[in-house]
């Protein structure tokens, strides 16, 4: 039985294919698979590359940080598992050159460092950097340029570090994993780890940061982390890309979500097209099914035949879709070649499986119900053409589509809550809009009809009213399609806008810290004379957080929070009359400077407050140069850490910290073509520490640009999938329209009249769909902005005007094009087919 049906299903499929019956279904499914797999292939490669760039900023795929030396056993285990390992010891110490001395940030590194990213060194001061192969040789030091100025040092001269004498062999131009608490950073000195012990510079009690860098395959890293986790003490922590670089990881996360969401929308649109195409396919196979039943095929035979044909179709379309998807992403890679990093990783297998699965799931969910219905075609249809199978039950059609929707959504969002929220939202919206539309349609069309319209237009409008249910369905399908396209465009614009505003063209790229009180005004003058845009100048006092509500802080917070870096180092404390520029007040109130209270008040950064469990009204105790001080939390702020402006965990009310010795800090924008400003500044204010972040900013900007391009490309798929829906919808009603058009022409309607009736019908349909799209996209973007992308929501009045017009134009044009055969085929040939 089965082999016979196997053979038959193939034969029938081949004949259908040759007769053009499958084209639309095949194309719709191919688009679904091609768009997911092209996006899948491309994002997989770009994400891996972006991940790679992010790891460059970390210097590794994963870092173990500790305030104590890291156990050798951990390193051995990592090596045993095939991971690359390198170690870093970082601390501050004084270096001496002749009579001069300077506090420096020393980084002792072992062979292999950096595991990700790169170092650039130069042979001469202000020379251009070249890629460093390896690390400083034993006995040598690499120094940041400004140290040469501060120490009045020449390349090749010796430097004292602890009891060691080491040669300043190169200028350290670029260090891709430079970062951390850069306000307090002293100039960098890099040395070979093997020289560290001999220098005797680290004594018990010294504040030292030990890090073990790891790199390797994700799965191996995961298993290593699982092995390591139970062994970690409170002072040891695992730092991943996400934790290490909030700015980049947030951009990455948003991009990933956007790409995922967009490809999901492309698949859903293709799904709608598939549902429409499958319905038409099914209707055009009633005769075939009736004939087969008449010849003795059982219902079971018909079911197996239909399922097998669907399966073959799914496999063929998915394979073609995968090939097309591969070609499309390859084309994109070529297109973006100059912007992409030198070598992209090769294509992964994951997108292949996902593409195949998406194809089959989409086909099953959207095409199965109408096709399975074929087995219900009564054999009596051979005598009575009007007999059609009972329509598939609504719960079956919608149930299958909803299950598919949930499956696909869940795969992309990986969140049950988000998925159910979206699906519930879509269903509620579709029902509400459907009812509303039916009402609107009746009102509008009746009103239009009442006027003396010409016969062609009236015919078109009657078409809309004749079957309200079908019209509402079409308007919803077009509306959802337009809406999906609108949402994608809208979010793209907002996302890119918000990235760019976070990193504006003239984002501050130089930080000046350790500004003495006497230097504040001259520095302001220096910057203002050169018309350099600068942030506020913040006073800064360093102190440790030691108590929470009079209890030692480490005892008051959870074990997890107690390892927080902020509790183990001095924090930069500042004070301000007003809320700093890029900060936002989440809870509490900002102090009133007119009515200065006696109480010491402090405003804490939101993420830190959440991590440590600090709430409004809590009393925080600080130790500042040995003096203890208590302040009450009166507000909680969120801070844009990516803003490249001075940002603080703790901001005090004025009058609390002024008595302590303080320095100040500010940031400003140095035009890229004026590097001499940094030098002049150091010369004029030798005590100020200048941190030039231009390279880091360029790096982040590069990532944002890449992501933006990817986002725009992906948008094309959605547009393409949207147009397939239009086309499928036109095709779906084509048979009926052909017949109707032929009859009309037989009784004397002109081509022009028929065309006019089609265009008026579709344009009105499109205008309604545009209205639906405007409503829907506002609602969806409201939820997405708030919940997914965390951007502030704004209304888009332009959408309410533009979308109905675009809808009328698009659907009108698609209708005009899709139904052109109605007037080009001769009425006789149409009627003969009946």
């Amino acid at each position: 039985m089965m082999p016979r049906l196997f053979r038959l299903s193939w034969r029938f499929l081949a004949r259908d294919g040759r007769a053009g019956e499958l084209t639309l279904l095949l194309v719709a499914l191919m688009i679904a698979v091609a768009s997911t797999s092209a996006i899948g292939f491309f994002t997989d490669r770009v994400q891996r590359t972006m991940g790679q760039q992010a790891t460059e900023l970390l210097g590794a795929d994963l870092v173990i940080g500790s305030s104590r030396d890291i156990a050798d056993a951990w390193e051995k285990e990592a090596v045993l598992r095939g991971l690359q390992v390198s170690r870093i010891v970082e601390f501050r110490s004084v270096v001496l050159a002749g009579e001069r001395m300077q506090l420096a940030s020393i980084k002792a590194v072992s062979e292999g460092y950096p595991l990700r990213g790169r170092l650039q060194i130069a042979d001469q001061l202000f020379g251009s950097g070249i890629h460093a192969k390896g690390i400083p040789d034993s006995g040598e030091l690499w120094l940041e340029p400004r140290l040469f100025g501060l120490l009045d040092l020449e390349i090749g001269q010796d430097l004292e570090l602890g009891s060691g004498l080491l040669q300043a062999s190169h200028v350290l131009v670029y260090e891709s994993d430079r970062g951390g608490d850069f306000y307090s950073l002293a100039p960098r000195v890099m040395m070979n780890l093997s020289d560290l012990e001999a220098s005797g510079v680290i004594q018990p009690g010294s504040r030292v940061e030990y890090r073990m860098l790891l790199a390797g395959e994700a799965a191996v890293l995961d298993s290593y982390v699982n092995w390591l986790k139970p062994l970690l003490g409170s002072n040891e922590q695992i730092i991943t890309v996400q934790q290490g670089r909030p700015a980049i990881s947030r951009a990455l996360q948003r991009a990933e979500r956007y790409l995922g969401l967009t490809s999901l929308i492309a698949v859903l649109l293709a799904g709608v097209a598939i549902a429409m195409a499958a319905r038409r396919y099914s209707e055009r196979h009633y005769d075939m099914s009736a004939m087969l039943r008449c010849m003795g095929a059982s219902q079971r035979d018909m079911l197996v035949l239909s399922l097998l044909q669907l399966l073959w179709l799914g496999l063929i379309a998915s394979t073609l879709g995968l090939l097309l998807g591969w070609a499309l992403q390859e084309g994109l890679v070529q297109l973006l070649r100059p912007l992409l990093p030198g070598r992209l990783p090769s294509i992964g297998f994951k997108p292949v499986w996902l593409g195949l699965a998406t194809g089959l799931i989409t086909l099953a969910g959207f095409a199965l119900p109408p096709v399975v219905r074929l087995r219900k075609v009564p054999p009596l249809r051979v005598l009575r053409r009007d007999l059609t199978p009972l329509p598939a039950q609504a719960w079956l059609i919608y149930g299958a589509a909803i299950v598919t929707l949930v499956l696909l959504m869940w795969r992309y969002t990986q969140s049950v809550a988000l998925t159910s929220a979206i699906v519930a939202g879509v269903i509620t919206a579709a029902l509400t809009l459907g009812l509303l539309l039916a009402l609107m349609l009746r009102l509008t069309v009746n009103r239009l009809r009442a006027r003396s319209l010409n016969v062609a237009l009236r015919f078109g409008l009657n078409h809309l009213l004749r079957n309200t249910q079908v019209t509402v369905g079409q308007v919803l399908a077009f509306g959802m399609t337009l809406m999906a396209m609108a949402v994608v465009v809208l979010i793209r614009t907002e996302l890119i806008g918000s990235w760019q505003s976070e990193l504006p063209e003239k984002a501050p790229n130089v930080f000046a810290v350790n500004i003495l009180a006497s230097d504040v005004d001259p520095l302001k003058q220096f910057l203002d004379e050169r018309s350099l845009a600068r942030s506020e100048v913040f006073p800064m006092v360093r102190g440790r957080l030691i108590t929470l509500n009079a209890k030692p802080i480490l005892e008051s917070v959870s074990k997890e929070a107690s390892s927080s870096n902020a509790l183990h180092r001095e924090l930069n404390l500042t004070w301000s009359d007003v809320l700093p520029e890029t900060n936002r007040l989440n809870e509490g109130r900002w102090w009133d400077t007119e009515q200065r209270s006696e109480m010491a008040e402090v405003s804490i950064e939101a993420q830190l407050a959440e991590k440590l469990g600090i709430e409004l009204g809590d009393r925080l105790g600080f130790s500042i140069t040995g003096v203890n001080l208590e302040a009450t939390v009166t507000s909680i702020r969120s801070v844009e850490w990516e803003s490249f402006r001075p940002n603080f965990y703790m901001v005090f009310s004025p009058g609390v910290l002024e008595s302590f010795a303080s320095t100040s800090m500010t940031s400003f924008y140095r035009p890229v073509d004026q590097p001499e400003i940094g030098r002049d500044l150091i010369r004029q204010f030798p005590s100020i520490t200048v941190l030039d972040l231009e390279v880091v900013i360029q790096q982040i900007r590069g990532i944002v640009n890449q992501v933006t391009l990817a986002v725009e490309y992906v948008l094309l798929f959605v547009l393409f999938a949207g147009f397939t829906v239009f086309f499928a919808a036109m095709q779906a009603s084509l048979d009926e329209r052909l017949q109707e058009g032929a009859l009309l022409r037989t009784i004397g309607a002109s081509t022009k009249q028929i065309r006019a009736s089609h265009i008026s019908e579709f344009a009105l349909l499109g205008a309604f769909a545009g209205l639906v799209a405007a409503m829907g996209s506002e609602a969806i973007s409201y939820v997405l902005y708030r919940e997914v992308f965390t951007i502030a929501f704004v209304w888009h009045p332009i959408y309410w005007l533009l979308l109905p017009v675009i809808g009328a134009l698009l659907v009108g044009a698609a209708g005009w094009w899709g139904t052109r055969r109605v007037v080009t085929r001769s009425p006789l040939s149409v009627l003969r087919d009946l």
Binding site: R4, R7, L8, R11, R15, D16, R18, A19, E21, D287, M288, M291, L292, R293, C294, M295, G296, A297, S298, Q299, R300, D301, P378, P379, L380, V382, L383, R384, R385, R832, D833
Partner: protein, 236 residues
């Protein structure tokens, strides 16, 4: 179970006892056929005649097992099909019945050859290709194998349909107005072909027609009026 007629027995090809067919419409219940009883012997040719709406096609559909009666018993080739479900009836059809229709009912997406192959393929016959070719040669369409129905004239289409109907060597052939869509000359040729093949294969022929000339060529005429069988005055 072999559902083909055993020719050594005296089982009639079709036996109908007290059959009613009613349909429910918006206007209430409508009786299409009432109290029909008849027998058709093997190898007999029978014409069902009557005006439009007299229930001819409904009776044909019931005899062929394409539909089930509201009441009464129908036996087709010794199988009581009025008690069977659709799938069992399909099995009986598969082995005993061939059809020819007024509108030909060829599948537009298949060539003439493929249309004839269809029942053979459905039965899993390995020689479907050759058998269909022979049948098309028999009806004089050997030049038209790869043509689609659209590319054939009405008469040619009906010849393809006849070839398809005889593909499974049916014991009973049902024809619903086989010449209804054809001009007189072409219709005559089709009728000749139908009767020839019928004789060659020794099959029972049941046809519904308006065409008196065609009806007189059959062994017997069944006259339907308002859903009831009336005895023709001229026949004894």
């Amino acid at each position: 179970m072999d559902k083909r007629i055993d020719f050594r027995s005296h089982i009639p090809a079709i036996a109908i006892r007290d059959v009613y067919k009613e349909v429910t419409t918006a206007a209430g219940s409508l009786t299409i056929l009432s109290a029909i009883s008849l027998e058709i012997k093997r190898a007999e040719s029978v014409a069902i005649v009557g005006v439009s709406g007299s229930g001819k096609s409904t009776l044909l559909g019931l005899m062929a097992g394409l539909d089930s009666p509201s009441q009464g018993v129908i036996e087709l080739a010794g199988n009581c099909i009025s008690d069977m479900d659709e799938d069992s009836r399909a099995q009986v059809r598969a082995h005993n019945v061939g059809f020819v229709f007024q509108t030909f009912q060829l599948l537009g997406s298949l060539t003439a050859h493929e249309n004839v192959m269809l029942p053979l393929e459905l039965d899993g016959r390995a020689d479907a290709y050759e058998q269909a070719q022979l049948l098309l040669e028999r009806v004089g369409l050997e030049e038209r194998l790869s043509h689609y129905p659209k590319q054939l004239s009405g008469g040619e289409q009906q010849r393809v349909a006849i070839a398809r109907a005889f593909a499974m060597s049916p014991t009973i052939l049902f024809a619903d107005e086989p010449t209804g869509n054809l001009d007189a000359v072409t219709g005559e040729r089709i009728i000749q072909l139908l009767f020839e093949l019928n004789r060659e294969q020794g099959a029972t022929l049941v046809l519904v027609t308006h065409d008196e000339q065609l009806a007189t060529r059959c062994d017997r005429r069944l006259h339907l009026q308002k859903g009831q069988l009336i005895q023709p005055a001229l026949e004894v």
